[in-house]
Each structure stands twice: as C-alpha cells, then as structure tokens.
Symmetry: C2
Subunit: 595 residues, 2 copies
C-alpha cells in the first residue's frame, strides 16, 4: 500500500515544530524511526533531516481507521501526518523537540518499507562494507547525515567568503590532456578520435595559472580531481579540491586571505574562533622539532638532537649513524619511565615499521636508577650527560633513534604521534593550525639520481637563495607553504614563477630539455610568452578538511557516495564490465594477458 | 627583462580608482592595452579585469630611466606602476575611468610580451579556431571576460539562493556505473579492475533520487555532466547542470521555488525583473499554437489549424494529408504579401529542411487580389473561407503545411522562428519565460515499435489519466515540466514515481522486465523498497542559461575552456595519444580495424 500526498502540504520539518505555536495544526512528513503500541496508544518517532518528533495516535482523536493504520507502522515507513502540536506529558530531554508531540488526526502511508538490513541509528556497529552496499540507508543515520550536511555548509561558507573577497569561481574542464608524471591519470577514451585519450585532471593547476595569464586576477573553484593511485587508507580516486589562485600578490597576501577564510568557516560552521595570525614555522624547524612537515602542535614532546652529546660514546648504533653522516635524536616521554618492557617492545616494533633498525631507550625510574637497552656501552657520565641533554627527570622514558636524518625524523615523528595518541596528550576538540614555510625547492631522487621539484616546476625559489641554484641546489628554499591542522596537511601552495629567466633555469636544474618541457607544459609556456602576472595560489583537500571539522575518523564519512580502498563503489557496483558494443565504438579491446 | 614585484602592493584595480581620492598615490598593475608616444609624453592604457585606465609618463615626473622604459612598452606587457591619480585633461567618455589618469612615477615591467597572434579587443573578427588555440589570449578580451565573469556571478547567485532556501549542495560521484541507454556514456578504464569500466555521469538523476530516499529533503548541485554525443552546434561533451530535487512536494512547489530562483538571478545579475508567476502552457497548446514544445513567446504569428476549412477541397496536397490522418495548418505572415517569389522559394527550401514536401502559400496583395501556389485547385469561396480562417487581410502572406501532424508542427514551428528572426519580430533584450506542462508520459518509437519514456521511467503519470495506461497509453500525460526562455528549453524536470505499484506498471508498459529494470536501475529500485518519499526535481543547463543571460551567440562564450564540434580542445590538444605504458597498466589496446 502506498498513498499519494495529494492535497497535503508539509508545514514543518520535525525539528522545526519547536518554533510553532502550541495547539496549532501541523502537517509533518518523514520516516518512522520506531513505533510502539502501549496501552491502546500508538507512539511513533518521526524522523527527517532536522530531527525526531513524537507522534501520538489515539483512537478517540483519529478514528478507528487511522488508528488501525497507525498500529501497522513499522520502521522506515515514509508517512505524512496531520495533527495538533501539544506539550508532551513525559518530556524527553535528549531531543530538541522532547517537550512536544503531535496528536495525530490523519495518517497517510506514503510508502512502506521492508525491514532494513541494519538498524538506522547513530553510532552504528554495523560493519562498513555492508553499510556502503546499502549507502542509501546508511545515509539516513542522523550522525552521518549531520556530517554530510556539515560538509555542505563548509562548501557554502567557503563560496560565500571567496565571492565576497572578489574571487571568481570559474569552472575548468575535466576532459583534458594527459601529462604522465606524478600520480597516474585516469584516462577517457574518445569515440570521435580513435587511438586518443582524454585524461581526468589531477588538479586544475595549469589551467588556473592560465586564468591568471588571462587576467582573471582572483580565481577559485571547488574542483573535482582524480588520481588513479594505489589507494591508501584515506584517499579516494575522485576528490574535491578548494582551489585558488591570485595575481599581483606575494606569499603573505595568500596567507592573509586564507587565514581570514579559515577563521570564517570555523566560526560560521563550528562556532570556533581560530586565533589569528596563525603560527608560522619553517620546514627546517618543523622537521627538527617534530620530525614532520605536518606537525601536530596540540602537544609538546619535541625531538632533541643529541648527536653532539653522544658523539664520543662506544655504542656502535650511535657512532655508526653519526659516522655515516646521520644523527642521533630522542624523545622524552614524560612520566613513562615505568612503562612495561612489553609496551616498549611494541614501540620498537612500531618504529621499525617506519624504517628504524631499532630503538634505544632509557627508562629513568622514580628512584633515579636507570634501565636502558644500551647502558653498558656508555660511561656513567655519558649517560648522565645524555639524560641531561634530554631534560630527563625521574620517572621519564627516553627513546632514541640513530640513522640517516630522514629515517630518524620519520621514526621519531611517527613515534611522537603514536605516543601522543596512546597517552592522550592532546585535546581532541582543539583545532591547532600552523603554516609550514620555506620548503626546499628541490628534492633529490635516489631512484632517478637527479633533483625533482618538491612541489611543481613552477614554484618560485626564494630570492635570497637563488644564487645557490648551481652550487648547492638542495639548499635553495621555495616560496611554498602548507597549512597544517592537528598534524594533517589540509592545504598547500606556492608563489609561481612568472619570470622566464628563472623558469628556464628551473627546467635546466630539473634536467628538462626545452622539448620535454614544451611537450608537458606546452600551452602554459606558450601563454607565458605574452605577459605573465606575478601569481600565487593554494589548494585545500575539502574531504580532509571536512573530516577534521566533523570530527570524523575517515573521509568516507563526509562523502555521500564514497569508494573503498580498491577504488570500487559497493552500492553501484562500479566499475563494471560494459557491453561489447561500447568497447567497439571506442575502438578498444582488453589485453588477453592481464598479468 | 622581467622584474619582481617585491616591495610593491597593488592599491586599486584599474576600474576601482574611480572611488579613490584625486591626488592620492596609487599602485596599479595590469596589461598594456596600447601605448603611444606623443610629443614627449607616453600614454599607456592599462587593462585588468575591472577595466582600462590611462597612465601618463612624462620625464619630468618619472625621471629619465623610467621614461625610457615606458617608451619601450608594447601591447600585453604586464606592468606595475606607482603614480598620482589626476583628472584627465582630455576625458574619454567611453570609459568609466575616462575622467582620470595616473601620472606615473615608477614603472616595473613584470613580464614582457611577444606580439600576440591577434589583437586583444572587443568584438573581435579573428576566426574562432585561432582564438580557441590561443584561448588564454582570447580570454583577455574584455567582452569575453565580462561573459565569463557573468557566468561566475550567476553560479554564485544560484548557490546563495538555493542555500537560503534550505537546499544542501551535495557532491555526487563522477566515476559511476554505465547504464547503456540514451546518449553514449564516456567510459573510464580501471587499472585496479582490468576489464571493467567506470562511466562519467550523464546526470546525477539516480543519485539525487537516492538522496531523497535517504532523507536529505532538498538537494542541489552544480554538477558536471558528460555525453559522448555526435556534437551538434551548441553542445559540449562536458557541461554543467544546475540540478535539484525536493522531497514531500508536488509540481507546484517545484515551479514556485524555481520562479523565485529565476527572479533572483535575473534581478541580481542583470537587474531584470522577471514577472511572476511565469505563464504556464500545456504541451498540447504549445504544439498547437507554436509547433514547438519550447515556443518563443516574444512574438505572435501563431499556427492556425485549417484542416476543417479545407477538408472538401480538390487540392491533392491538402486532401492527401488529411486522408492520411494528418492536418493542414498555416501561418499568417502579416504585411508580407509583397514578399518576392524568390524569398518565398527560399522559405520553401527552408521548410524542406524540416521534412516538408513543400509549402503552399497565398499572397494577398494590397488590392485584395491573390497570388497563390494552389489557387487553381480551390473554388473562389473555398479560397475566401481559407483566408478568413487565417485572419488574412490585404497585404498578408499565408503559408501552409500539410502532412502528418509531427511534420506540420516541425515545419511551421521552425518557419515561424525563421520568419521571426528575418522580420525582427521580437525584442532581443526581452526575456520571455513560459512553463510547458502536461507532457505526454510516453512517446512511440517507430524504430523499436514500442513506447518509450518521454522523460525517464521514473516520471509520475498524471493521476487523472492513469486509468488510460492500458487502453490508450499515448494519451497519458506526465507530471513533467520544462522551463522555456525565448524559445530555448533552459530546464526541465518532473515529479517522480514514489509508489511501487505505479512503478511496476510503468516498467511493464515500457516493456522492461523485472530483470532488465534491476540491471539498469538496481540500486534505485533497491532503495525504493525502504520507504520512498514523494519527490520531484528539475535541472537547468547552466551553459545555455548563462549564454542567454549574457546575450552570447554560443555557449563557448560562457565556458572558459570549451571544446569544439569534434569534442577536442584546440588549446590543450586533447584528446591525444598516450604512452604505451599507460595503456598497458589499463590492460587496454586499440583495435586494429578502426572502421
């Protein structure tokens, strides 16, 4: 049975009755959260996106027919009810509408529901795979709904702010040319041009720089981007970037407008006041203190370099690392000197996952005595000097990594975060921002034995370092910046090169011949021949930002129809085989050998 | 030579100096529109997105070095200038800044420009192909820039309005499952799932209906959509749809909110007041009066059915059409009785392009005498009756088509528009809206010898016609509506079926077995099992809407980087061949036989 809503007009969403006059007639529509008969009365919780509202059916009010229909109501039936808004005799303080109920006069069952494969409830325990298969039901859960709505509000506030600041949202194409570098492109075969492919964009980077060349001055876009990556825990094959670019600005201008943006959205969406200006930290400092270019500043436990302190000692792990040009650095885990050996061993295993060969430790007992994995290799005064350098006090646990700098930073950075989580060293509700600046312009690729651009080849080097580009290219810093929130890189960008002399030198340093550069960036280089404005930009990962703002554990919770790790959509069953006719039209076939 | 902008900060865009104090120091940046030396003075027109501003360089003000640099300026150089804002001695009334100029003190050439392949100017005569190859230069033209900015403003106003009305913008995925029907899908091969393909969406239709099932109540999205069509004049392989869906509403509710939307954007973007409510016309009436389901109501010249009047006559063309079940209908082209035979012949040819076998005419001369292609077949009183039926007066031209109804409507509808254009019967600046309602639910496919859904299989039939679904399915009207502006369908939508009994019947009528329906619409049908709300929606073509609002002749003028008829991008050279390695990763090969 299903009825039409003809002649009915909803007067309020469930949560909106709070603003209505007691005793007034209302018409509400939604889904049955639950319905129960109790002593000749049917109590029904009605749910819509605004909340839950209690309906009450009594035969004296609604007549026999309606009452019988009400008795048949089951979870997830979609219904419409006319009735009178009344004060509830047994208020439910957990609901915003908890002091109210609607005494029903009519009832229409707009459509029935089978029993759902899992209950529609907050904090579900249903496994995610099943929920993703029935995403349309999962999306009914009030907590997930709140997150999807929060994301929508974030996007709306971003757009409102950007438009107010004179940014133009300009749509860039998504069927573009493939530039095979970085992550893999998704390709789209062309029926009209057999043998040719479009690519889906990894970002609108080149196109937004073109728009600057064309004089649009301030561009932004919430742009769908695509990467055919080996999917890591929290990546999606398609994702949304809040992309912006500005002309006639320097890095400070970009940072300033973005601080205002962040302040606005946190204020408008969460009621949280972001303290401005946001702290800035150079890349070098972030690596040294936190072993990461995206440090979580909600807690301390900074890394200490003890290379100088231990350089004369006989512990081969330390001296070997130092001799090889590496370093020895440590973390002081305050008050954890009593940590059981088993837990320390687990930390060592964790560290190995980040490339450490091991982890040296010193557990300072409450009585000042020391348990250590390497005490026997150190003289007593060396041990005391090490403890002092680490600011070690009775009851502290000191952990050390000794290796190449990169490994030491990776290991201690990861360990610091893990300990922060285990020991609950930070406030989950705090939002702590930091700008990371002065990134290296280039990074050395061991694999290719050449320098590669750390951001992209159009990133402007810092003027004060430019004279080192030949003598010491690795030491040249870039006009690049990342915005980090609670240890997550939520956005990044740079000032772009607008001077042809610098651009040509950059290609040379990167080992790109003129021909290769033309092949890859042809239309941008072409555009650069006709008057390029100084320009700079930044892009946020909207999924990540929304996840953090929503307090969600995965970006899948802020995406209406997400894909899983293997890039498939469990609800739609995509990707899927297509008809032979479709392949034929595209002049395509699949290789026999799928190895 | 190119200089840094270090230490400079732009104070105004060119057009913004109008608000600045005379005599104040300003810093402006932009492109040289033109620069000329005249009697020891350099006059430079500086251009940015806000307008054009005159700069004046005199050696006494700026010194020798700057003056020499100024003398070297050429079109499209990107420069920065500090100077004093002054009143211009020779005002240029054509420019908003025409009473002002900046007396330059400093000049930096931020980057030079080669001579562009075509001049950057309004109302260009450069052929479009060249402009599209150099789109980054074309996009500098102030008239094109105004259109791109107008589109951006339209999008921003749509979003502001929709958000204010409680709509949530929810992003739907673009890597989805292919449903082979309607236009061709673009396919995207999957590396992770060799042999499988994603499809790019033709619209978010099914997903937005799912969102209604999930209780989001009011959804909208400016959604990128894709159709691999044989490209007609004004289609793009990727286009943007303003997509919306509402729950617990009827058609009137959808029309009402959309009238408010249209009113808002026309008011905010163009300052044009759309008169509400917008006129409604049934599909049947639109076809009968205008031969079109998207009538241009800016002028009259309606179609008259003269079948009854001519049914006894001996003119075989008329009687043949009537005998075959068709009709005879005519247009009265007022005051064109003097139209030369050659022009009438051209109209006949035009009509043939729309399927007419010919066109019968009666030219009533100023003296009341008649020239006609078929006078000899009609008795005098029959001719007079025909003229009377057509409201013919001295000096009028009457044109007749006789054929099957579909052909008659196509021909006279097209002819009416062509004559409207030729005779300039309408005001180009008028915006005339009309809702077309009560579309047929089904249309007969001659090719497949079965009924097909005119909109889509989820469109709700009109309740009052539902009893005819078996006896006369072609007579059942749908709860579907299109919004038409100046003869262009800019949007359309429908109430959707939410009742399972009606849905099953629809599939039956469409000849879809349960299995086929499941295969095609599986997850939507699955969702429908768990409580579907009544819902309805609408979608606009944003490109078309923006084109009409901008007064442009092609949608390419409101798209930053459009594609041409063969679906290629002339600037990026996309699509293009890709590396063999990329094909290999996708387990793909191209067929040898590309026939």
């Amino acid at each position: 049975m299903s009825e039409s809503m003809r002649g009915l007009k909803r007067t309020h969403r469930c949560g909106e009755v709070v603003g209505a006059t007691l005793g007034s007639e209302v018409t509400v529509m939604g889904w049955v959260q639950r319905s129960r008969n109790k002593g000749g009365v049917v109590f029904t919780d009605l749910r819509d996106r605004s909340g839950i509202l209690q309906l009450i059916f009594e035969e004296d009010d609604c007549g026999e027919e309606v009452f019988h229909k009400a008795q048949s109501l089951k979870s997830e039936y979609c219904i419409a009810v006319e009735g009178r808004l009344e004060r509830r005799s047994d208020p439910n303080p957990k609901l915003p509408t908890g002091e109210l109920e609607v005494r029903a006069k009519t009832l229409r069952i707009l459509s029935e529901s089978e029993t759902p494969p899992f209950p529609i409830e907050e904090n579900t325990k249903t496994r995610e795979e099943l929920r993703l298969k029935y995403r349309f039901l999962d999306l009914r859960r009030p907590d997930l709904q709140a997150r999807i709505m929060l994301r929508s509000k974030i996007a709306a506030e971003i757009r409102r702010f950007m438009t107010g600041e004179g940014f133009l949202e300009i749509e860039t194409p998504t069927l573009i040319k493939s530039t095979p570098e970085g992550a893999r492109d998704y390709l789209v075969p062309s029926r009209v041009h057999p043998g040719s492919m479009y690519a889906l964009p990894q970002s609108p980077q080149l196109l937004k720089q073109l728009l600057m060349c064309s004089g649009y001055d301030r561009y932004f876009q919430l742009a769908r981007c695509y990467r055919d990556e080996d999917l890591r825990a929290d990546r999606q094959p398609e994702f949304t970037q809040v992309d912006m670019e500005l002309s006639f600005v320097n890095a400070d201008d970009v940072l300033a407008v973005n601080e205002k943006l962040l302040h606005t959205i946190f204020k408008e969406v969460l009621g949280v006041e972001v303290k401005l200006p946001i702290q800035r930290m150079t890349w070098r400092e972030a690596m040294g203190r936190y072993g990461s270019d995206k440090p979580d500043l909600r807690f301390g436990m900074e890394i200490t370099d003890v290379s100088e302190t231990v350089k004369g000692c006989e512990f081969a792990v330390f001296s070997g690392a130092l001799d090889a040009g590496g370093s020895v650095r440590g973390l002081n885990v305050k008050g954890q000197g009593h940590m059981p050996r088993k837990k320390i061993d687990a930390l060592v295993e964790y560290a190995k996952g980040y490339g450490a060969k091991g982890l040296a430790y010193v557990a300072i007992q409450e009585d000042g005595s020391v348990k250590s994995s390497f005490a026997k290799f150190l003289k007593e005064e060396e041990m005391q000097a090490l403890i002092k350098a680490m600011g070690g006090e009775n009851g502290d646990l000191l952990l050390f990594a000794a290796d190449k700098n990169k490994v030491v930073f990776d290991v201690l950075g990861a360990l610091r975060l893990e300990l922060g989580r285990q020991l609950e060293l930070f406030d989950k509700n705090e939002f702590r921002f930091v700008w990371i600046t002065e990134f290296p312009l280039l990074e050395w690729s061991e694999e290719e034995q050449r320098f590669k651009a750390m951001h992209h080849p159009f990133t402007m080097p810092m003027e004060e370092d430019w004279d080192k580009i030949d003598s010491d290219p690795g030491a040249v810093r870039a006009e690049a910046y990342d915005i980090v929130l609670n240890g997550n890189e939520i956005g990044g960008g740079s000032v772009r090169i607008h001077r042809s002399d610098i651009q040509e030198k950059m290609f040379e340093v990167l080992g790109l011949t003129r021909e290769v550069a033309e092949e890859r960036f042809g239309f941008l280089l072409e555009a650069f021949r006709y008057g390029v404005p100084p320009h700079a930009g930044l892009a946020y990962g909207l999924d990540r930002l929304a996840m953090l703002m929503a307090g969600a554990d995965t970006i899948r919770d802020v995406i209406a129809f997400p894909k899983v790790k293997d890039a498939s959509d469990l609800m739609m069953n995509a990707p899927d085989v297509v008809e032979e006719k479709q392949m034929e039209e595209l002049s395509l076939c699949f290789r026999e050998n799928k190895a």
